[in-house]
Symmetry: D2
Subunit: 350 residues, 4 copies
């Protein structure tokens, strides 16, 4: 019953085996190893993007920040939702790397609306040199609330961005969970829908710590490389990053793991919906649920060993009928049994 | 015969086993896992520094840059040798993180001399607010030329720094190779000799990619944590960093690996000294040699499969008698047989 | 009928005369001239703050940005209203200088409300190291909408800031207009109300281009000096800044000029209120009005030579009955006759 | 006998009169005033550069730093002499604005030598992504030691820069003194000799505080504007900058003032050379002298009221025969009588 985060679970055994296999003899480092050339080819194939520049870093904050810095000028503002990870959870890293600031665009279900985005972008540059200039639009897919933009929603947002010549970044920390949810291709969810660069996450979906940065315009490649090095994010023993990513992409492991994680959330959501005291706050399109239920239920779950974040409300005291908001995240290693147990404990209190 | 770099070899099997062992079940991340508490305790013990703040990052550039940013103000200058890694090989990362600039202090055998350091520090602030202010002194131990500062040399430098209230940073990418070379304790080579913070390297000595930042003044701890996160260097699945470092420190593995690496360099140096065409440029105190020998010898070594960097001279053309300068680095996994083979090929040409 | 901005009018003749007087012979520069010592004494007296650090810069953006950088850490967020000049009109300068980001606090009449400020500050740091940390609160007095915080309102905001140990900055680009409006002392409007540092504007109130930075905690003085120099804002021929500020403070010129500017706005507001088609959007407490009136009136004013900004609405086309929003600013040099003329033209259309 | 600095003297009366004349009525600001259009035209004419972008700032550090930031990437290194003002006297401002670092190129008579420049540039990028990349070359004309690069010397340096596609910046804080010294045109000393952008100083030559930034490639114009605003260096009451510069350029005032300043240095140098105890350290090509003479002479000059910097040696104690090094700078307002008096006092001690 561990639903605290998809970065609290283990790496997949195939990934670990790939590390063991990679751990022999001498090899070039810094991404010049053969394994990285293989990863680049794999990702280009997966994204149907034969010219894409592909780089690996070890954290999602690094992926987002270095990509945004490559896409933005220091006098720009980056458009994102008010609950974007780059705004709330990266301790000013995107601003540090890019020099740009963030403009928060009103969102529904954690998705910026096209009208709000248009209004926000239009409003910038009305002040000429005095205000910040229009920079990239950053879309989180899966959103921080567990919803997934449909291709239509994505295209509506990127169309607005294109009206103003703003490049589009996708924070895909849970990229594959969204992909599986939509049942589309990686190309469809990115460049075919107007996305210019992606933080293609692996850490939350079975890797130890690797994120790929995929840039569809190869003219930005060298700048990215320099920014990565200048940020201290170029690994000498880079083979251990490429080995993970190669294993991830091999034989559809990435898709399988995301499908598993999503299935557990579906199972959890179905059960929660049957519980007359529980309410889902957002449509759980991928592997994350925000649910409201009474503190008494929370208390019982906790006593039974469940582990998750209370997103709102006082978990420790107060009226047992008072509802709390829980965030529940399922990773690839969550078992159907664990979900069943959670739902059973929840039901038992009714 | 792979002597290109100590970051081109594999991780030690015990380290890999520790990763495999760590890869089970759920755990807290971001350094809040129990394994990190254990690592902190291990390092405090190893350094005899019960109050030291200890953090892990994955690259040496990150370790150096975040530490220096924590120790320097943006209007300071950092004093280092002209061949310091922070100056030559980090693509402006120390400047990016700290805002400070670097002042290059004349060095002998890649070691700043106390007099040159005093002159350099004294010269700053002579211009009041107009020039940069006096910031940290950064000492690389093992130096970039393979020499090791004796404790006396270290103390002479830190004494100068203390005259001017400048904090002292040690870039210890090859910390343990130096330690083994000097036969002293980690405490003696750091805080007992006036060092305030250390980049305690692991990657070049048998880890996949982990460096510890050890700060003897715990008042700087929180700032370091914020700077690490803001730089994108805080790992969610942090257990895979702490597992490596725990294995490294267990049963003196760190010391054993460095001793092995150093022994191979001693073996290599002994052989080179016996070769009448070869000349060592610096005293190879640890696991790195700079040697000058004729291009004909280099060519023969290359043909026999040797792999190392030509530091100076044209490796590809010219008079076969013309000397080149080769950099030879031995890591923990270099074998006595590989060194012997190298020396045999070298001798065979005489 | 020039009401476009209080930085479009001339410097006061006394200020110009002071420059002429200062323009003789040799003198020390960089603020070491005697005139600056005099200015420091004048400002300390005016603010009843015998220990305050006082510095001059030439632009409001410089004053705000260097002060905020001195008060904030690079991982902080600065709290301000959504229409704050530091957010909308400084092209990322506060972020550039400080490294911090801005959090926009909901405002009424361009004034943050204490409850919204408390909620905004409380919300930060709920994420530990992951999110930005609590930094300074920046209050604009006169606000960007022409309203003035009463002392009670100021104290309510600074009390919230103090709950969380956040320092308080005042953007006083129109400081004196507010002071005259409130009829209080500079001390009452600043440190006696919990303000820690002030951008004390002169440029909008009769100077050529000088703003004083007044820091009540002298421990920050040296850092400010270094940040000013590092930003390129330390003047060699500093006497021409101190001469302006000395003239400004002499014989209550600063107060007289602000009183004149405010009186013209009162005159304008009175007339606008009598015009049945016009509506004031905010209480014009100082020297700035936002008024809504029909495009036909705007057109006629334009034709008669009036000059001001249309803040909202299309000034060039559309229904003549459609209302526009005009921003009208009166500076010290605006004449009662110009205001009368404006009101007459406006009335003539009724 | 005030020879401390050319920024310690007054502004020329014509400049002051221009300010008085500009101080009437309302006008647009931020460089949109008509006067700035006139200045741009004047400078384009003076430099025979009809497409040049021209901007004004108030300090030399701002001019240098914003120009260099516009020309350099954050991962670059800027090549300059070890005594460059941007290195020694700007408290990290060039690094702050650009993100780049500085590489010090060995110099003779404060002029980088072409061979040393070539070696320095060639050395960068030998490390690929690991080291800083090749950025602009910055040449100070007049140098910080009072020497002037001949056109041949300039062209030799810019030719080296062009070999490596490095743009060339000229720090012309004393631009006009060099121009008068060489007797060439502004075009010859800049773009016709391979210079891409110039900090065209005015403050040291009769203005209150204005430097023009002249960029020969207009494609960089908008970036410069944004960087200027983001640095807080865009003046609202910009007319007071353009008025100064317009007066400066009118009727060859700039050339006349520099000729006067240079003549006083020639007079001084001639006298010093006749003094058998004095020695000139550099060829005083413009308006600055570094001279070595005994402390007894210095003491006597001081007692007689002379004012200048002792560049090296202890001015306050020691053997009266011990030589000191004095820096003597003459500005436009220095009188022949003052120079005579200085020389007389010096001679009287012999």
């Amino acid at each position: 019953m561990f639903f605290a985060s998809d970065n609290a679970g283990p790496a997949h055994p195939s990934v670990m085996q790939a590390l063991v296999d990679a751990n022999a003899g001498y090899t070039s480092g810094y991404g010049a190893e053969q394994a990285m050339a293989d990863v680049t080819a794999q990702i280009r194939t997966a994204f149907e993007a034969p010219d894409a520049a592909v780089y690996l870093v070890a954290t999602g904050t690094a992926a987002n920040s270095i990509l945004l810095a490559t896409m933005a000028n220091p006098w720009d503002t980056i458009f994102c939702s008010p609950m974007a990870h780059i705004h709330e959870d990266e301790c000013n890293a995107p601003e540090f790397y890019s020099g740009a600031k963030l403009t928060l665009v009103p969102a529904t279900n954690a998705k910026m609306t096209p009208d709000a985005l248009r209004a926000a972008i239009a409003n910038e540059e009305s002040r000429g040199v005095h205000g910040p200039q229009r920079g990239p639009v950053s879309i989180t897919q899966v959103t921080e609330k567990g919803t997934v933009h449909s291709l239509e929603e994505l295209r509506a947002l990127t169309a607005v961005a294109k009206e103003f010549d703003c490049p589009v970044h996708m924070d895909g920390a849970r990229f594959t969970n969204a992909l599986v949810s939509l049942g589309c291709t990686a190309a469809e969810m990115t460049w075919k829908s107007g996305v210019d660069a992606v933080s293609f996450g692996g850490t939350k979906n079975g890797l130890m710590g690797v994120e790929a940065c995929v840039i569809f315009d190869p003219k930005l490649a060298w700048e990215f490389e320099l920014r990565r090095k200048r940020g201290g994010h170029l690994f000498s023993k880079h083979r251990y990053l490429s080995a993970q990513m190669a294993a991830y992409l091999k034989d559809d492991l990435w898709l399988d793991l995301a499908a598993k994680a999503n299935a557990r959330t579906t199972q959890l959501a179905t059960g929660l919906r049957q519980h007359n005291q529980a309410e889902l706050l957002f449509e759980p399109d991928a592997n994350m649920i925000f649910a409201r239920y009474p503190r008494r239920d929370h208390k019982r779950l906790l006593d039974a060993g469940a582990n998750y974040y209370v997103w709102d409300g006082d978990a420790h005291a107060g009226d047992p009928d008072e509802p709390l908001i829980a965030r529940l995240v399922t990773d690839w290693s969550a078992t159907p049994e664990a979900v069943d147990q959670f739902l059973t404990v929840l039901r038992d209190g009714s």
